[in-house]
């Protein structure tokens, strides 16, 4: 049953991805900017220019270009990056793990932070604590993630240098790991010195990404917790003799999580989008910073590949959240 649902959702994703592909393909060719112009010195020979156009297939009509690209893409070949002169597929796969680990870390921080704030606010409902939570989340929400990133660099990278401000790991240490999921792999290989170093590099970008999402989660979760705490079952649980903490965490939290999860799904895609700027600010070698470079260099094949990768990420995140509803709410399990 659950596999049928996953399969159905994956099939539905195909037209979505096709639409994204067409849109991106046309858009990057319509907006001003010329990939060939970016790679040659000014006043280059017209013959050279024509040869480069032909080499990347940019001299053909757009429909033909798309047909060729789509046929290759269907086999997993997204062409050659113009600026980096490497295969787009390989490039993305070598940079994607860094972004995935950053997003996972940031999302975890956001959920833990937002959840803790919401529970704390509800525990102190109607008192100073709740007002403090509202004020903090309001302030955090009003500052975008990249500004948090810049503020962290100034505060904890320069003034009080607690964390490294750029990169993903200390380049002077040889990693010697098999995969690009270096955080996960170093952890499971028990090389925790490396893990700690990677986490230190991730801390500031991850928190910058996590703060707005965490504040959003805190707000939504707190209001749905308040709703749940007013339900008779929460009152009954207190009559039974359970403490407020117990009622919040063991009774209300799970029911309150359901509306929060659907919001988190939408917001998590913003977090993934936020990696583009944050990775650039922290020189973090993920697909976000790769995307900025690709756009600056008008690297059409790379832009197309990256945007499709982002689209696949968004679809997968939403699929996962969709499945988590059924886990949280028994009423949906049989529906």
């Amino acid at each position: 049953m659950i596999f049928r649902r996953i399969l159905l959702r994956l099939l539905q994703a195909i037209p979505t991805l096709a639409g994204v592909a067409i849109l991106v393909f046309v858009l990057v060719r319509v907006v001003p900017g010329d990939p060939v112009a970016m790679m040659i010195p000014p006043g280059a020979d017209a013959d050279v220019v024509a040869r480069l156009y032909a080499q990347y297939g940019l001299d053909k009509p757009i429909l033909t270009q798309f047909g060729l690209w789509a046929a290759a893409a269907a086999h997993g070949d997204f062409g050659m990056s113009i600026s980096l002169r490497q295969g787009v597929t390989g490039l993305i796969f070598s940079r994607l793990p860094a972004t995935l680990e950053l997003v996972a870390f940031a999302a975890t921080v956001a959920v833990v932070l937002g959840g803790a704030l919401a529970v704390f606010g509800i525990r102190h409902a109607g008192r100073f604590g709740e007002g403090a939570v509202d004020a903090v989340t309001g302030f955090v929400l009003s500052v975008p993630d990249f500004l948090w990133g810049l503020a962290f660099i100034v505060a904890f990278g320069v003034l009080v240098p607690l964390f490294p401000i750029s990169g993903r790991n200390d380049p002077s240490q040889a990693l010697g790991l098999a995969s690009d999921f270096i955080l996960t792999e170093s952890f499971f290989r028990l090389r925790w010195g490396v893990t700690a170093d990677i986490l230190a590099h991730m801390t500031m970008p991850a928190i910058a990404l996590a703060l707005p999402l965490g504040a959003m989660i805190a707000r939504v979760l707190k209001s749905s917790l308040a709703e749940q705490m007013a339900q008779d079952y929460a009152l009954l649980s207190r009559v039974k003799g359970f403490s407020r903490w117990h009622v919040i965490v063991a009774e209300a939290l799970r029911n309150a999580a359901i509306p929060t999860v659907s919001l988190t799904g939408v917001q998590l895609t913003f977090l993934v989008g936020g990696t583009v700027l944050i990775e650039k600010i922290f020189s973090y070698p993920g697909i976000g910073s790769l995307a900025i470079d690709a756009v600056v260099n008008r690297d059409l094949p790379l832009i197309q590949g990256l945007i499709l990768t982002f689209a696949v990420l968004f679809i997968l995140i939403n699929l996962l959240l969709d499945l988590s509803y059924a886990m949280l709410d028994p009423r949906l399990r049989h529906a």
Binding site: D232, Y233, L236, R238, G241, F242, N255, D329, P330, R331
Partner: protein, 266 residues
């Protein structure tokens, strides 16, 4: 087990920096007695029950008076002592739909209180829950235990809640309009069930309702509340024979009677 006496004297309750909800309410429930608490919506009858159970809303507080239950003063206790004192109290809530947690199975919602209050193990508590479900005459008790609330009818849910309320042998149960949310045919069965259990377990019962018909069926004595004040207090037979207070008389006049059709509802 037998019921315990409840003495509420001069209880006053107010919203913080707001209006007063209860003005010096006093009432007495004798051990094993069923005491009706009657009044229209907003009269403060549920507030009395919530004071007793220690579940007042966030901005509402007790401003005076005392609640003595089973020889112990409940007003002024800190939260932990308050919870401990509550071991002898239970609640049958108004709305059986929202009084069960939609994401937990019946068995866990029945046994959590027994494990906490009686110190039973999970399997002992489950056995007791099953016995209680038999006692409330629910169909297929074993099956019900492992179901989620949305898989039960309203009447079945209320039976589950009644079974849970009686499971820890409390000395007093607050029944907060336990039949209001049910349809008429089920109401009658549930009412009979509560009365039978109250008798066999010898529990005291504070029965909050706006329905005088229910009071006549189940209660020994009655307190009538209007706008946070006690307007009349008497044994049921006495009051039904001759309601003294004008407000009580108006309440009686407002009750539709099948033997006087077309009567004006005041």
């Amino acid at each position: 087990m037998s019921g315990a006496a409840l003495d509420i004297t001069n209880l006053s309750v107010a919203i913080r920096r707001g209006p007063t909800l209860l003005h010096g309410v006093s009432l007495h429930v004798a051990p094993g007695e069923v005491h009706g608490l009657v009044g229209m919506s907003g009269a403060g009858k549920s507030m009395v029950g919530r004071c007793l159970l220690g579940i007042l809303p966030a901005r509402v507080g007790i401003t005076g008076g005392s609640i003595r239950f089973a020889g112990q003063e409940l007003v002024g206790l800190n939260e932990r002592d308050r919870r401990r004192a509550g071991a002898q109290l239970a609640l049958i809530p108004q709305d059986p739909l929202s009084a069960l947690n939609p994401s937990r199975r019946i068995v866990s919602q029945m046994t959590d209180v027994m494990r906490l209050r009686l110190g039973l193990t999970q399997s002992e508590a489950t056995a007791r829950a099953l016995a209680m479900l038999h006692e409330v005459h629910i169909r297929d008790p074993e099956g019900v235990l492992h179901r989620y609330p949305h898989e039960l009818s309203g009447g079945m849910r209320q039976r589950v809640l009644i079974a849970t309320a009686f499971a820890c042998e409390p000395k007093l149960i607050v029944a907060d309009e336990p039949t209001t949310a049910l349809d008429v045919t089920v109401q009658k069965q549930i009412l009979r069930l509560i009365r039978d259990l109250q008798r066999s377990h010898q529990t005291s019962l504070l029965f909050v309702t706006h329905d005088l018909g229910v009071v006549a069926k189940i209660c020994n004595s009655v307190t009538v509340l209007n706008a946070g004040r006690v307007v009349e207090q008497a044994p049921v037979a006495e009051m039904f024979a001759a309601p003294k207070d004008p407000y009580t008389q108006a309440l009686f006049a407002a009750t539709p009677r099948y033997d006087q059709p077309g009567g004006v509802v005041a």
